[in-house]
Each structure stands twice: as C-alpha cells, then as structure tokens.
C-alpha cells in the first residue's frame, strides 16, 4: 500500500513537472482576410507537427508543445502586430510560426519579434524584400522567396512558347515583389510584358481593370493576386468579357475554392505552387490523410516544417529562448547529419538529445539559403477543372 502511494505520489510529481513544462509557440496566420481559405491548411500542417512532437515525449525531456493561434488578417499590419504582441506578452510564446502574408510578416518582424528576441519562421510569406530585411538572425522561412518563383514562372512560360503576356498584381508587398521578380526574369529570357497593372483587393467590380488589360493584350494573363479577392474578380471579368481565356496562376491563386468556383472554364491555364516531390512530402501527405486533412493544400507542408524546425532547434540548444536557439536553425536545416524526413520527428529529437547532428529535410526538402528556403515548385496545368501536375522545378 505504501509503495503504491509512493508510486502515485511520484507519478503525480512527474506529471506536475511535465505539465509545468509546456512550451507555447504562436501560430500567426491569416485566418480571416484575403487568404482565409489557405490558412486552415497551413494550420493543420503545423498542428500535425505539434501532435507528433507531443506523442514522442522526447522534446526537451518530456515537455509538451502547444500551439496558440493568432490572426494576422494577412493584410492589416496593425491587427497583425496586435495579435503578435498578445502572443508574446500574454501567452509568452517561445517562437512564432508565421506570419501568413509578406507585408504583415515584415511588420511583425520589425515591431514584435526583434524587440522581444522572438524567432519567427514563416511558412508562406514569399516577398523577396524579406530576404534582406534586418532581422537580427531571428527570421526564417520554409517558403522560398518570390525571387525564385518569378524565375520559375518565366521558365515555365518560355518553355511553353508563350512570349507575350499581360500581368496584373495585387497592390501590396507580395504582389509587387512577385511581379517585379517575374518581369525581370521574363524579360531577360526574351519575353514581353504588354502591361503591368496593379489591382486593389476588396472591390466588387474589376471590369475597368480587365478592359485595360484587354487593350494591352497578350497570349496569357498572369494574375499575381489572391484567390479569395481581386485575383478571382479579375479572372471572372476576363472570362466574362472574353478578354483572356488562359491564365498563369502563382502560389497566391492556389486554393481549392478557385477551381470550385470556375470549374472547367480555367482549363488550359497553368500555375505553380511551392511543393517538393521528395519522399518526405509523400509521407507527410499520407500522415495528413490519416489526421483527416489534405496535405497537398498550399503551404501545409511548409507549416509542418516551420514547427518542426523550431522545435528541433530548441532541442538542439536545450533552450526555448529565441536569442539562443536561433543559432541552431540553419545547421539543423542544412546539415550535415542524419537526414530526418516528415514523420521522423521523434527520431530527430532523440538524436539531438544524444548530441548528434541531424539534417532536417522534413516535408518540403528544407534547405535554407540565408533566411529563405531554397524551395522547389510543382508546375501544373488545369485540365477538366482539375490541377494536373506537369513537373517539379
């Protein structure tokens, strides 16, 4: 009896310690706003990594990882900063996975992450300007910079013999950054851009913009916008008036809802999304399916990798302090060491606790160049109202 009591007391003590050891990380995404249909996919990916880490009991000697949601609205910098401030000051998070869109990510980095020494790993902010933004080494992203996406877009179009396009972009950091990167790469490869027209999100009617784009003409319309906002409006207007029938759709236009809305009328359009063809990605998609969500959703894998990278760095540094574990992130992402793919987080944590080096590949073949993921893209064509993969680049 005495022994049982003692054991019970010991268990109680242990669990108490473990319970006290909860490490919180903020998950700051645009749950409302122009990318709200993309956010749940990323969140599911992040959540899956958290679940696997908790199930392993190998994280920081049995500590639990907990995700705290924050809404960065994707476009409203002051709302994003307020949400991030709440995460840091009242939830005391050890790091932030986010933000979702480039503009708010830059704002949160400068006014919350740097002053508080909190690490940020964005799964989806892709503006080239974030590569060079001052960050005190606190900022990373598992999504590639749009400087790379712009190059991929140019390559894809030239390869298909499309040498003259009209370009419209959403008038913010993401759209402008991508449009600039694409224009530079496309012109270098001999393409002509007939017009580069910014559009505002949140309008009911884009017929004036479509009229201008139609007047400029081109073989295809490149829509560097958001699938739930102006991007959709522009496509609707272009299809209605017959101005364009084929579109190039970069990552911001990669949502299931876009195809549901337009169906087969987008047939023949092409697009790309940051995604890799590695075994890690396949494992991730399979595990996501078991967990009940679609792992191929945009930036879902990057969400998983952002959380995993953060937790692994904490383990390697034996610390949850951003200013300490930030130094471990690059080594874990780029190796050398044992390769760790999605689904092997327990193994990775164990190796790190034994003091061995790992090379985190994860779900999206993570490799960092500076703060950015080197990134690979899946290029697809829309056929019969479905995205059919052409190749990976």
């Amino acid at each position: 009896m005495k022994k049982i009591l003692l054991a019970a007391a010991a268990v109680a003590l242990v669990t108490q310690v473990a319970a006290a050891q909860t490490v919180k990380i903020g998950i700051l995404l645009g749950f409302t706003g122009p990318e709200e249909s993309q956010a749940p996919g990323i969140y599911n990916g992040a959540e899956l990594a958290i679940k696997q880490i908790d199930a392993s009991h190998a994280f920081l000697k049995g500590a639990q990882l907990e995700g705290v949601k924050g809404d960065d609205t994707c476009t409203d910098a002051s709302a994003a900063v307020a949400a991030a401030t709440r995460l840091v000051t009242s939830d005391h998070v050890a790091g932030i996975v986010g933000g979702h869109c480039s503009g708010v990510t830059a704002a949160v980095l400068q006014s919350v992450a740097r002053p508080n020494g909190v690490v940020m790993i964005s799964p989806s902010a892709t503006s080239p300007s974030l590569s060079t933004a001052p960050s005190d080494g606190l900022f990373f992203r598992t999504a590639p910079s749009d400087a790379r996406q712009g190059q991929v877009m140019a390559d894809v179009l030239i390869k298909q013999g499309i040498k003259k396009v009209a370009l419209t972009y959403t008038d913010n950091d993401y759209g402008k950054g991508l449009a600039d990167a694409f224009s530079a790469a496309y012109k270098k490869e001999g393409g002509t851009i007939t017009i580069s027209l910014p559009h505002q999100d949140g309008k009911a009617d884009y017929s004036a913009e479509v009229g201008t784009l139609a007047a400029a003409g081109g073989q295809m319309l490149v829509v560097a916008g958001y699938a739930d906002q102006g991007g959709k409006g522009i496509i609707q207007g272009a299809l209605d008036t017959g101005a364009f029938s084929k579109f190039y759709l970069p990552d911001g236009m990669y949502t299931a809802s876009l195809l549901q809305h337009f169906g087969k009328s987008l047939d023949g359009s092409i697009g790309d999304i940051g995604e890799s063809n590695s075994s890690g990605f396949k494992t991730f998609v399979a595990e996501a399916k078991k967990a009940g969500f679609d792992g191929t959703a945009a930036y879902s894998a990057q969400g998983y990798d952002a959380v995993a990278l953060m937790a692994l760095a904490m383990e390697a540094a034996h610390s949850t302090k951003g200013t300490v574990y930030k130094n471990k992130i690059e080594a874990i992402a780029n190796g050398p060491g044992v390769k760790i793919y999605a689904g092997q987080l327990a193994k990775g944590l164990k190796l790190l606790s034994e003091g061995k080096a790992i090379n985190y590949e994860g779900a999206s073949s993570v490799r960092l160049i500076g703060p950015d993921s080197a990134g690979s893209y899946r290029v697809y064509t829309i056929k019969n109202g479905k995205r059919v993969t052409d190749y990976y680049e």
Partner: protein, 336 residues
Amino acid sequence: MNILDAIVVLLNYVIIPATSYGAQLALGALGVTLIYGILRFSNFAHGDTMAFGTAVTILITWAFQAAGITFGPLPTALLALPLGIAVTALVLLFTDRAVYRFYRRKKAAPVILVIVSMGVMFVMNGLTRLIIGVQDQNFADGQRFIINAFQFRKMTGLAQGLALRTTSVITLLTAIIVVAALFWFLNHTRTGKSMRAFADNEDLALLSGINPERVVTVTWLLVAGLATTAGVLYGLDKSFMPFTYFQLLLPIFAAAVVGGLGNPLGAIVGGFVVAFSEVMSTYAWRMVAAYVLPRSLVPGGLMQLLTTDYKFAVSFAILVAVLLFKPTGIFKGKSV
C-alpha cells in the same frame, strides 16, 4: 469590317458595363433624391441600406435554393427580392420611428440629420456584417450569359467577342420598370401627388390636410424598394461584399447632385452621366483606335486618360465641378 470590330469592342468594354452600372447608380440616386426632396436631408446610410437589403435578399435566396425553388433561367434572387424589400422596409420604418422622428419633431437642421444618418450608417453596416459576414457572397444562379464572347466570335466571325450577361439585361429592364412605376405613382396617385406637394412646400401641404407621417412612411417604403432593388442588381451583376456598398455612396451622391438633388428625373440622368464618365475616362482606348485608325496613326501607348485606380476620383471631380458651377444640377434640383 474593322469598324464592326471597333463597335464590338466599344460595346463589350464600355457601353454594356457603363449602362448596367449607370442603371444601378440611377436606382440608388433615386432613393437619395427622394429622401432629400421629402425628408430634406442627405441620407448617408443609403449605401448600407442597399447592403442590408441585399444581405437579407441573399439569405432568402439561399433558403429558396435549398428548398429547390428556382426561377428557371433567371436568378432566384429576383423571386426573393419582394421579401427582401419587405424586411428592409420594416427596418427602415423602425429606424425612422426610433431615430429620425425624434429629430423631425424637434425640427432639427438638415446638417444634424446628416450626422444622424451617418450614425445609422455605421449601425446598419455593422448589422449587415454581423448577419452575413464580411466576405463576398455568391448568390447568382440561372443562365449567366445571353451570349458569351466565344459564341459571338463563332457566330459572326469577328476577331472580337461580345459578351452579354443576363444580369446586365435584367438590371436595365428592372431599372426601367421600377422607374416607370415610380413616376406613375408620383404623378398619378393621390398619395404620390401628396408627396410631391409635401416636397414642394411643406407648410402649404400641411394646411391642405396632408398627413405628414403618412407621407414619411410611404417615402421610406419607396426608399426600401429602390435601395434593395439597386443593391441586389449590383450584387448580381458584380459581386456582393458589404463594404463595397459603402464605396458606392460617393458615385450615388455624385449622380443625385449632378441631376439635381430632389429631382427624380435628374437622378436617372445623373446615374448614367457618372457611370459613363467613370468608365470612359479610365478605359484604354487603344484597342478601339487600332480598328478605326490607319495603322500608321495607331499610338504605342494605351490611350488611357486615367488609370483605373482613379475611378472614384472621377465622381469626386464631377461632384466638385457641379457644386461649383451649377449647384442645382442639370435638372434644377434644390441647391445644396
């Protein structure tokens, strides 16, 4: 043949969009003008009344769609419209009883009523977003095109396509019917005549035994009908997002002022003037020029007077110009 292409381009990108937009503005401006003529203040809540009416109509449309009731090739929203108008009318009558009547009895200056209407605007705006959310809602169904660009090209063999959407035609037809009914009502019924009498000279109207509360009630009922119809047509033709109706307020006021505030005919003309100026000054004319002018004369630029970002600036400019040079508007409304 080239001239034909030029005409098709012009129809497709300028005349058809501007006409349906003009009809929507005209219906909105009629509501503003009625309130200005009879209740004697500029109703800033009008845009959000349109949003509210549309939101209610959308909910009823969804209910109809769920119950399997459709309107054949026409949008179901047209069936739901009368119910939407009824609900909006009740809400407007409630705001009148709860808010405006208090200030009317105190004989408050018009400028105070304008500020009051701004308060109502914010409440209405919040209410709409609370009911239906902030995102864009899709409620259009039925046949989307009467003729689409692809069919047109195949039929005529022209290089340019012409798209005629069902909603554009419905917008225009509905606007004509509503305006005709309104004019008949104002000119040929006893109530309509009493409203005009009240608008012309309030004291004289009161002396001749016109019941002011009845005139006010009928005005709000008409405004509910006009606002909801305008809102639903705009939503069907473009897309519904609560915030965009607030942005419509400026062109609507510009339309009412251009035509002459308080003058129903002016509101209609004003709606089309504003719509055509907005579309024509932001349209890139190069495509038309390319078909009409000889090759050597076609300019390299887009021939665009203003970029599309400045669309709203056009209505602003019209508003300012009219107020400066002809404050009573084209049709001699009341001076503001």
